[in-house]
Symmetry: none
Subunit: 234 residues, 2 copies
């Protein structure tokens, strides 16, 4: 999806840039991060972002004047992200041309929602590439269907899909039990361990694994599982 909206992030703290770009890319946006205003301005000559996130406390320049220039010259939406929480700060920020003003600390989900509100487009889809091929099978995560090499379709549920995706994203590597639990969002505990097993068992059935000799999902006793398969995402 090359026409996903482009969001630039201008903030001097790498941790915040990372958090934002993670959340935004997860939500389907393209992102570019900058730590300094000068770099950002240089990049503006060759690209036109759809939304600009700007932190006001920049080392090399006053953020507000930058916002002002941005709003005036580029047509882009400008969203200020700032630790300055006073009403007066917000008012002047908005008066200078910002379209929105978000206060640190913020929740990435709200940032995504506010960006979408600016773009007011249905928003890009969560899934970018959502089919994977492996050993004769094709997993269509968008349709929740597994396809045989003969073309026979087997539907799988959401929970099964979570497990399958987890494996396909880590082929031929050990997936520890605890890692699974975390990724599947289950509260750790005796009973959830069994739930995991059951999910895997059901997935194995759909993949027509031989219980005595599984070829795709191997159990490593005492450690976890390992998915053996030549995975190609497309």
């Amino acid at each position: 999806m090359t026409d996903a909206p482009l969001v630039t992030i201008l903030d001097d703290e790498p941790a915040i840039r990372a958090m934002l770009s993670d959340a935004l890319e997860e939500a389907g946006f393209r992102t570019m991060g900058f730590s300094r205003a000068t770099e950002f301005e240089a990049a503006l000559k060759s690209t036109t972002p759809d939304v600009c996130l700007v932190d006001l406390s920049l080392p090399d320049r006053d953020g507000l004047s930058l916002v002002h220039r941005l709003a005036l010259e580029q047509g882009a939406s400008v969203i200020i992200i700032s630790g300055r929480a006073q009403v007066q700060d917000r008012v002047t920020g908005l008066e200078l041309g910002a379209d929105d003003y978000i206060i640190k600390p913020f929740d990435p989900a709200e940032v995504v929602a506010r960006i979408r509100a600016r773009l007011r487009k249905p928003g890009p889809s969560l899934q970018t590439s959502d089919t994977a091929r492996f050993n004769g099978w094709t997993a269509h995560f968008d349709r929740y269907v597994l396809t045989d090499n003969t073309g026979l379709e087997t539907p799988f549920s959401h929970a099964e899909g979570e497990v399958l995706r987890m494996f396909l994203e880590r082929p031929k590597r050990l997936v520890s039990r605890t890692m699974m639990q975390e990724s599947l969002g289950g509260a750790a505990g005796q009973s959830f361990d069994r739930a995991m097993d059951v999910r895997i068992s059901r997935l194995r059935t759909k993949l027509r694994e031989d219980p005595r000799n599984p070829r795709l999902i191997k159990t490593i006793y005492g450690a976890g599982y390992i998915f053996l398969g030549d995975v190609t995402w497309s």
Copy 2:
């Protein structure tokens, strides 16, 4: 000053209405205040506000569904003013079409600044067209008709259209059950949950979905629905 921007205020607390209209008129806007959603809707027939301030906790109606309708049908900017401060509330509010979300207690100066920010960018908040194409189907929302790829027409009702539109505006993204309820204006509760299901069931029938293996409207157990279809509005 007849062409000063018109701001409507919908809030059941007279004190807040007074404070807002004072500040807004001071800032040069025209204002109209309403205490109930029904009055407000009646007034909409004769006037078109530039910005609508809406309190979510209304006595006679769920505010969110009103926001949804407003953003959709009128082209006006909608700013939610609410006491509900959870991130999740803000996210759903914005997802449902609000352009901004202000938390009580607020400073009137900030409200003014945010209104100005909205007016500056005549946001493309309005869905200009009323026809969408997806996977061989064409939905004519103006005529309440679904057209087959063979040209066969199937009428759909208003309630079905609400659900369909909600999906077509968020293709390939999870639509949570609560978001639906709020957009469709049902008071949350055991029984309305069923009403949702029934609407979707009826819509599925019209889309000739295979109950065992729906291709367009997928159910995500415990989470909501996801519409898989390549949507083009025109």
